[in-house]
């Protein structure tokens, strides 16, 4: 069998993820200090694990409804109302396998070949491959450092065409940590109000914002009918391995997504769904505590990096800082590779999140403060040793 001829063209054409390449390099260095992960360091709160164990003990081991347990969807609706003042009905809610499945479903449910999907970059790595697999056309827009990596309404307006189908908004953002403000969202809503563009609002980091309150674009006038909100449990409740997320949006779109979901997934893992009910209803205090810890580390990282001479804007969300490394005279890839080889510290080049990430690197602070201090000591040494090379 010659699979070079057998594999689908779109699968072959998929670009290997920049993260993957770096992962392979770092994997050869098991003793390295990593600041490279996109998942929390905290354990899943015990109440959530206990709820999962209880569900197993009483034998809740079967499929659930395709769209998810009714009780969980009710809990999602209550949660969206309580946290973000968004009112959804049960038929406007779908439980998915992580936020990533919800992203996949939304794009597949909407995109026709040739449709354009506006993707502000740097961003999470899955929007583009899913778009191209669906034969959509990714339209990249660069979020700029001088705007604190926030996308602007003008930038969106400039790339809108009659073929635009989706605007992806991934804020709070991985990898930059940028969060959109009320006035940013209002301006974007204004630009989209009289169009047929759907917003894919990936709000997986909605609960991890610092010194501000997260607002969803769906809460702005006229936006709910054109927005699919993607949420999840991985980041907020430290539940990455449970693989659970959700989508809320217009019922027609949710129905189409559910059709795709039932064909390829059937339903999200039952044990995780039971755990998630407890997460949404009983774990505000755990989330507050984790947020407090992240915030301490965030302030530490921003201060240290700026002191070392790597200009770093103060991120408002997620658990990443995105220092500008151009003062080193190196490209993003070169910087991260050398840092890994010479100091055994793993961070991710900004280019893994799109071309707009050139000149930057993603540092995750989902690590203990002691771990961060050791890594930053090494980064400072690295900069010192390469001083004056550019």
């Amino acid at each position: 069998m010659d699979y070079n001829k057998l594999l689908s063209e779109s699968a072959v054409k998929m670009r290997p993820s920049g993260i993957r390449k770096f992962f392979d390099l770092a994997a050869e260095m098991p003793e390295c200090i990593s600041l490279g992960v996109g998942e929390p360091d905290f354990q899943t709160p015990w109440d959530i694990r206990d709820a999962a164990i209880h569900s197993l003990e009483i034998g809740r081991t079967k499929y659930t409804a395709n769209s998810g347990l009714k009780e969980l969807r009710e809990a999602i609706c209550e949660y969206m109302k309580r946290k973000f003042d968004l009112s959804y009905e049960l038929n406007e809610t779908l439980v998915t396998v992580g936020g990533s499945e919800a992203i996949d479903l939304a794009i597949r449910a909407l995109v026709e070949p040739g449709d354009e999907v506006i993707i502000p970059e740097p961003c999470y790595v899955s929007y583009e491959p899913i778009t191209t697999l669906t034969h959509g056309v990714p339209v990249h827009v660069a979020c700029l450092e001088e705007n604190d990596f926030r996308i602007t309404a003008e930038q969106i307006k400039a790339v809108l065409t009659p073929k635009t189908k989706i605007l992806v908004l991934g804020f709070p953002n991985n990898p930059t940590g940028a969060a959109l403000r009320h006035e940013d969202l209002e301006a974007i809503a204004e630009v989209l109000r009289d169009t047929n563009v759907t917003i894919l609002s990936d709000e997986i980091y909605a609960e991890l914002v610092y010194g501000m309150k997260h607002e969803s674009i769906a809460a702005f006038e006229g936006m709910k009918e054109r927005t699919i909100v993607v949420g999840g449990f991985s980041k907020t409740f430290s539940m990455t391995g449970w693989r659970l997320g959700f989508a809320c949006g217009p019922k027609e779109l949710i129905a189409a997504m559910t059709k795709i979901h039932q064909s390829c997934i059937m339903c999200a893992p039952t044990t995780s769904q039971f755990a998630a009910i407890t997460a949404l209803r009983d774990c505000d205090d755990d989330v507050d505590e984790m947020r407090k810890q992240y915030d301490l580390r965030r302030q530490y990282c921003v201060r240290k990096l700026n002191e070392m001479g790597l200009k770093t804007f103060e991120p408002r969300g997620a658990f990443y800082v995105f220092p500008n490394i151009t003062s080193s005279g190196m490209s993003s890839e070169e910087f991260c590779q050398k840092l890994l080889q010479e100091k055994h510290v793993a961070i991710v080049p900004g280019t893994a999140f799109g071309d707009a990430g050139e000149g930057f690197a993603r540092i995750s602070y989902a690590y203990s403060i002691d771990h961060l201090r050791e890594a930053f000591k090494r980064i400072a040494e690295f900069l010192e040793e390469h001083k004056g090379e550019n």
């Binding site: 770096f22 992962f23 098991p30 990593s34 992960v37 790595v125 530490y300 793993a346």
Partner: protein, 163 residues
């Protein structure tokens, strides 16, 4: 400087040095030392404790919890009795409680005999104490938030790099 942050850091790790704390908080060592001294002086920080699993160290010891019923005194309430109980060095904790007994005393001793002697000759005779109920600790599972001899949770099994 943010003393709440300092308190949280010290509660998590009492061994953190002034240098560590200054680095984490972005303050001068002088400021951190001043603040820490102040917190200690004002008894907001009341002490730094080491949690020892004495069983594992093979050192003979006995811990007991004693429920103490007592009659309040005019004007002083329970405070005077409490002071009398608290002054014994073997008393490691003392609380005024709701429920059947007025006080809960925790006691660290070397032998059961010592506990019995303490209750019989020191605690029960205190004026105002009407009865005691002694409970011996058989095994410790968790002390001051630290689990003892339980299966350790996996510390960090994340991949080195992920999206």
């Amino acid at each position: 400087m943010d003393s709440i942050k300092l308190l949280h850091l010290l509660a998590d790790d009492p061994r953190a040095t002034i240098t560590d704390l200054a680095d984490i908080l972005g303050e001068t060592e002088e400021n951190v030392k001043k603040e820490k001294d102040e917190l200690e002086k004002n008894k907001i920080i009341c002490g730094y404790h080491t949690v020892v699993n004495w069983d594992k160290a093979n050192i003979e010891h006995v811990d007991a919890y004693i429920g103490v019923s007592a009659k309040p005194e005019r004007d002083a309430g329970y405070d005077k009795i409490a002071e009398r109980i608290a002054r014994f060095p073997e008393v490691s904790g003392l609380y005024l409680m709701s429920g059947t007994s007025e006080f809960l005393v925790s006691l660290n001793a070397r032998t059961m005999r010592e506990v019995a002697d303490f209750v019989g000759s020191k605690l029960a005779p205190i004026e105002g104490v009407t009865s005691t109920v002694t409970m011996f600790v058989l095994k410790k599972y968790k002390v001051n938030g630290v689990t003892m001899d339980m299966k350790e949770e996996i510390h960090d099994d994340r991949m080195i790099i992920s999206a």
